[in-house]
């Protein structure tokens, strides 16, 4: 009797993974058995989709990369490009997805479908290329008010936030959108500075002046680094919020 009948396996917890491996092995066996390159490519595509369905995106991408796309027909080549772009996006390889999109644009009769255009928009958003994303969005969804969808907070330059905090403590956090944190940081650093001056005046060089200098430098550099992190976090939140809005606008 057959070896690969999932319901014959008792262990419930292992059923899913065994079922999946069973399916993958069967498809791989077909790949191994056939000689026709087109059939093999289609089976590889099928295997990759099974892996994607199981959310094993790295394996799905690795499977697709077994095929030399430039040996394929245009239509199949397009499908492989599309799948790889989507997988790169899902894996967070936004730069790789972008470069594949550019490469795909050079292919003969390349015509991305709506799903791929949407992936491109979301990928641009993830990369912070909001203007490019806006243009693409307008082309894909001309009936919707682009300004309304893209009405999100301004992104902040993390390096600028860091530099501002070095220039004027607390200002980087305020620039990154955290007013209270900025004021607190500035307040603490001012107090430490004042305490240091007081220590020098009262000749408590070690217990007051040195202590406050040590703490001040910790807050000064730590605050600048924190401002950079805040700007990064703000930008990530904006990207996420915008991606959700874009996806919602297509529902």
């Amino acid at each position: 009797m057959c070896l690969f009948v999932p319901f014959l396996i008792d262990a419930q917890s292992e059923t899913h993974s065994d079922e999946l491996t069973n399916e993958l092995v069967r498809v791989e066996f077909d790949i191994f058995s056939f000689e026709d390159e087109v059939v093999i490519s289609q089976l590889i595509l099928k295997k990759s989709k099974i892996q994607s369905g199981a959310k094993d995106y790295p394996a799905a991408l690795k499977t697709l990369q077994r095929v030399n796309v430039y040996n394929l027909s245009d239509s199949l080549k397009h499908v492989f490009f599309k799948e790889q772009i989507v997988l790169h996006y899902l894996l967070g390889n936004h730069g790789q997805a972008k470069s594949m999109l550019l490469e795909a644009g050079l292919l003969d009769s390349w015509e991305p479908d709506d799903d791929l255009r949407l992936t491109e928009i979301l990928n641009d958003v993830a990369l912070g290329n909001f203007n490019q994303a806006k243009e693409l969005y307008h082309k894909l969804n001309p009936g919707v008010n682009v300004l309304e969808v893209f009405d999100v907070k301004k992104v902040r330059n993390p390096q600028k936030a860091f530099n501002l905090s070095l220039l004027l403590p607390g200002s980087g956090q305020i620039y990154a959108g955290s007013f209270l944190k900025g004021i607190s940081s500035a307040g603490i650093q001012t107090l430490l500075f004042a305490y240091g001056i007081r220590g020098i005046q009262k000749q408590y060089y070690f217990t007051e002046a040195l202590t406050s200098i040590a703490l001040f430098q910790g807050f000064y550099f730590g605050g600048a680094e924190y401002a950079r992190e805040l700007a990064d976090e703000r930008n990530n939140n904006i990207s996420r919020e915008l991606s959700v809005k874009i996806l919602d606008s297509f529902k």
């Binding site: 070896l3 491996t21 791989e28 202590t211």
Partner: protein, 287 residues
Amino acid sequence: MRRNSFFILFQLWSISVYCQTSFREAHEFLLHLKGIESYEEGVFSASESLKRFSSQGQQDTLLYYKGLFEYSLKQPEQSIRSFSDLGNSNEMFRLHASFLSSFQSAYLETYIESKKLLDEIEAGDPFYKELVVHEQAGLSLLDRDFESFEKYSNQFSGSYYQLSSFQNQLIKNRDGLLKMKRKSPLIAGLMSGLIPGSGKAYTGKAGEGYTTLLFSSILALQAREGYKEDGASSLRFKIFAGLFSALYVANIWGSVLSVKVYKDDFNATFDEAILLNMHVPLRTIFN
């Protein structure tokens, strides 16, 4: 409905085709899976084929590949188990499996088991005999049995290019291990008691030692200032003297512990290097 029936029929056809494969096809399929590095599928496929093909030769081939896939998946316990069931129908499979099992046992720090597996290898070829000696020498070093290492390293012929550089490396590993300076936790503690941080420097962590000395000195100066300006009963003196005392005691304790950390780090670094010098020749030769 018709589409669903067709799909089910196709699935059943596909399953039955797989189930009817000959042993040769099953074997070639395992080689194919090895080639594309689909190790998980390889383990699954070999396990299923083991239920279908029952002759000793077929079982040995399938167990060998199963063990090999598990080894590639970094599942040493399972791999050793698969290899241990292997019969003697294929000398090369048996030889490779024994070397890999021995290496994996060494990796799992079960040195007695690893040595036993090496001793059981009956290699007729002088090259494999020297490979056994090479692995035994590595194992002796892992076990810090320098006498045995001398015995095995004296048998290094240096005439096999696949082994000679790794044999030299093992000798260097031995020299490095012998150079390990013996550190005493008592001395480290006493040194840190005398000069804060010097115990850490004694265990090779000079940077940590200097930092500790700097912080201890600052806290000592702060406590002195508190005492001089405000007296022994002042809060200022109590706070800084307390902080200094805490750092002073913690540093002595830290120095004592750092001797153990030093030994562990030293041993781990050498163990890693020795395992590498045992592993690379196996991979090169059998691949």
